[in-house]
Symmetry: C2
Subunit: 348 residues, 2 copies
């Protein structure tokens, strides 16, 4: 974040002035949005579909570091991670509410940038911003976004529907967002105290983009629908493949086997892991923030799902008593551990 020069103090606008400025030309584009910002509550209509609600709380110093995260990107990502949860139900995000806690080092222009990112995400994904709350904060920036979406009842996919012999599929590739974070942290350390430091991201742009500007897999949901495939279980990968797979297995009362050599990894991720001396598979299993979709389909859909671009079959569901394990390249079974990014277990 840039220094606070020639900027407008938020206190000069006050809460309602700031809200007016940030929300003044927001239009409602979804037919389900009846009333947006400006009353005690937003009003929506969902007479033919079910309503999906998800929420994420992002705190400065825990979830983001403004040393290297531009506010516009932060706004975009904060919205997108919520959309991702709605897609993970096989639904469509329709509305968000945005609550912000803002400390005094932020100026009106900083909020403009954050909101630009949020609005951009809304534009890209066709979501309406319908409400929120804005307040001051004693420490740092607090972002709480709630997303409302919808889906026909018979299309909703839960986490608990995986069955023995189902195929385990993931979209995209894994571990890149985590490697992007390592890279940003490395350059932050390298830049400490240096004016005009130019970080070196050459050849690693994909990792940076995956960390700073993730996308939700709307395209995969569309692709599955067009192929007539309804997953038996699905969730998005925010805490790492290993942790999410264990959620699905626990809730579905199953076990699983995933194959090390099937886990999709981009070459930039591999190069970066090599450079940092990190275990590549560990990063892909536990890195988190990929926002890819993890889902299971019946074995009979093997051919149909294998044909779809951007989707990879990485293993299969087993009976519960077999537990959850990864099968390495040499055939060894290693039990999966949920050592994904867990902000409540952090020691520092």
């Amino acid at each position: 974040m840039e220094a606070n020069q020639d900027y407008t103090e938020i206190s000069s606008l006050g809460e309602f002035g700031l809200i007016d400025r940030l929300t003044k030309d927001i239009a409602l584009t979804n037919s389900s949005s009846l009333k947006g910002v400006g009353d005690d509550a937003a009003v929506m209509e969902y007479h033919d579909t079910e309503v999906l609600v998800t929420t994420d709380l992002l705190l400065e110093g825990i979830h983001f570091d403004l040393t290297y995260v531009p506010l516009r990107h932060l706004g975009y990502k904060s919205a997108v991670v919520n959309f991702s949860d709605i897609y993970a139900m096989n639904g469509t995000p329709r509305q968000i509410t945005v609550s912000l806690g803002v400390s005094k080092r932020f100026a009106v222009e900083h909020m403009d940038a954050l909101y630009d990112g949020i609005r951009k995400a809304c534009d890209v994904y066709g979501v309406d911003l319908v409400g929120g709350d804005t307040t001051s904060s004693r420490q740092g920036l607090v972002i709480s976004i709630t997303c409302i979406g919808d889906a026909p009842k018979d299309k909703i996919v839960y986490r608990d529907g995986a069955k023995d012999t189902d195929l385990i599929c993931v979209s995209g590739d894994l571990g890149a967002a985590y490697m992007g974070l390592q890279l940003l942290e490395r350059e932050k350390v390298a830049s400490a105290g240096q004016k005009d430091f130019v970080p070196d991201f050459g050849g690693k742009e994909y990792l940076i983009e995956r960390q700073l500007k993730p996308e939700a897999r709307k395209d995969i949901i569309k692709e599955l629908a067009e192929a007539g495939i309804k997953p038996t279980a699905m969730m998005d990968i925010s805490d790492g493949l290993s942790s999410e797979l264990m959620h699905i297995c626990r809730q579905s009362h199953t076990g699983c086997r995933v194959y090390e050599d099937r886990i999709p990894i981009d070459y930039q991720t591999a190069v970066m892991a090599e450079e940092l001396g990190m275990n590549l598979v560990t990063a892909a299993l536990n890195g988190g923030e990929d926002y890819e979709l993890l889902f299971t389909v019946p074995l009979s859909m093997h051919e149909a799902v294998s044909k779809l671009p951007g989707i990879k079959v990485i293993g299969h569901i087993t009976k519960a008593d077999l537990g959850c394990a990864m099968v390495t390249r040499d055939g060894t079974e290693i039990p999966l551990k949920a050592q994904g990014w867990n902000p409540l277990a952090q020691k520092d």
Copy 2:
């Protein structure tokens, strides 16, 4: 908040362990709640009514002071202030999501107490807890609650429907929560550094209760419905009567007159204002956190609304060019100012 002795560290449970503990025997009681905690999103069904969504962000050091606010009460209040927004739309709160940011000085037992309060509020108001997010925080406690409610389309009351000659009504009495806060702050100062300090709240229990354990006016919404009265405009009083009235007038393109001698004030509020040398009417107009309902009804309903217990007619709506003013006991008109509690304009 008590000191951290013999308590369980949250990190010993981790995020999912804590969520499991806090939500383990939460039942869904509303027919609109199809799926609660445990998936990427909660699922609800609102085929016959409109969906209302409101959200509030509460930050330690800004909205509450744990020196004198018990966590159980804080949980209760955090939920109730959201219910109040749904009632202010003439709706019924049905579900909430609860996001918490928790710093290391909080133990599992503190979260139990906070959740006890939230669950108690849910029980009292018939609301289901269906989801949320839990994370660590570097500083202090962050509470973000989103409430989902519903109302038939033709029953929803907005802020922009007030018309010239409409009567302005409020429920309950005003200024008590603000006086309760002053009292708690006074006793906090008095207790500084003293062990075993016993605060003196004798004869002022009502003020303390209004501040620490406000209720949402579900009863008034029911009363109005039973009397066949649909307000033309309504909102709840969270920032102070003056500020809220100006919202209604601005959005309805009207002015208003309220009468000083009609503003309902409890005698404990009056005694406390006297004791503190504060202007009583200023406190009642700008104090905030009353969570009473402010609404307007057509003049023709004067008799019907006057008969209802707990509701007082305090003035009337005028044409916009007359502005917003309070008429004092001696007939002087004083323009209303929105000097309610505005956390973004605070200087300290």
